[in-house]
Amino acid sequence: MSEHDHYYHLAERYYAHGRIDAAIDALLRSLGEDPDQSDAHAFLSLCLIKRQRLHAAELEAARALELEPESPFAHLAAAVAAIARRNLKQAQAHLDSARELQPDSAAIADAYARLYLAWGRDAQALEEARRACELDPDDPDYPALLASLELRRGDRARAEALARDVLRGHPEHVEALCVLGHCELAAGRTDSARDHAAWALQIDPMDGDALTLMAAVKARRSWALGLWWRFQSFISAGSRTRAVVLLIGMFLIYRIALIALPQNGLPQWTGPLSYAWLLFCAYTWIAPSLFWRSVKKELEQVRLRPGF
């Protein structure tokens, strides 16, 4: 086995255990040995997406396609990167090409499911997730996605059963842990939901789903932080451009109101408006650090119950 293959297989093992940084490191070494391996670039792209390094992920997927334009894996990586960037049409084009090249791939069906999920086409997402499970019944990622889709459409019992099935074979599966945590939270069992979030975060402290679950638990316990979390989720749902436009839009409305109120004979309202804006700024400034400090404290204190 060449050095390149050795590092590539090492990266696969790390990735399977959720050790994304170690997988990236192994892939960088693999590409250091041979920088013209399309699969390694595509795999690296998938790892980078997990770490939210979307710019680099896109470039790596493009490099993979450049080296091997007919590689379904490279198209898949490009599609996943495009979904993360919310370039959904582009993602669909890559997935169509990938499916043409490899019609019976469970990974491609899974990516279609995630694309439809991002598009809000839940029925099609569910259909593709079921197809992925049928094509590869042994991979735990596909039933975990199916579980999260079942939960999304309100079938909590089915979601819980699927997540428990995954966890029976793979107790460290972060997505399944998060689905189960959300089920527990929906059932009002906040402590159990917190245990699931803590366990998932101990496996992968940077996982977006696990952080969302922990945040949802914290939000349930404190209305003030919950309010901030909802505001933050609303602002950050979507692209960075959308977040900037929303924030500047709010600021602009405030400034327009400051000019318009005295012009329309209501100068007495400018003072309260300014104080309200100041309070809002202070709240959005202080709440995130309080929130994350409280999450960190929670993680330090966490001791999983023996029966967990």
Partner: protein
């Protein structure tokens, strides 16, 4: 001999200026509290200090803010002079300057934030930007307000 690890395209490129890199939050706050001139200059410098892979785009954003402000002030002046813009709407028109400056500042912040996280991830130690931010907000802003700059330059720097 072992091969060198492959370098990722979004990794910061270390330079002699790395020891002056700060969290981009400080240039953002400086821009808000001490004016566009200081904030933009700091953003441009921090981009080089972080070794940001998008520094070309970041410097283009700085240029857009400076020249865009000049263009907007000029356009508003022409519109007022020609009577197309009524004096009571002048305050609304000047909000476009604020919009441009804040928009560019947020864009720069978000671009540098990603790079800054990776810089820290690879062991980079940022400086505390707070003392300089306070100095610029108090002394710099005061000096700027007292100096008799031409109107156009004041619009860019404030």
């Amino acid at each position: 001999m072992a091969a060198l690890p492959y370098r990722l395209p979004d990794e910061p490129r270390p330079s002699g200026l790395s020891r002056y890199a700060v969290d981009p939050l400080w240039p953002l706050l400086t821009l808000m509290l001490a004016g566009g001139g200081f904030g933009l200059a700091w953003f441009a410098f921090n981009s080089a200090a972080l070794g940001s892979p998008t520094r070309g785009r970041e410097w283009a954003c700085v240029a857009l803010s400076v020249f865009g402000t000049v263009a907007l002030v000029f356009t508003i002046g022409v519109l007022l002079g020609s009577g197309w813009l009524r004096p009571e709407h002048q305050a609304y028109a000047f909000l476009s300057l604020l919009l441009l400056k804040v928009g560019v500042a947020y864009t720069l912040y978000l671009m540098q934030q990603r790079c800054f996280e990776i810089f820290e991830h690879y062991g980079g130690e940022p400086r505390n930007g707070m003392p300089l931010m306070i100095l610029l907000a108090v002394v710099g802003r005061g000096a700027l307000d007292m100096t008799g700059w031409p109107m156009m330059l004041r619009m860019v720097l404030q």
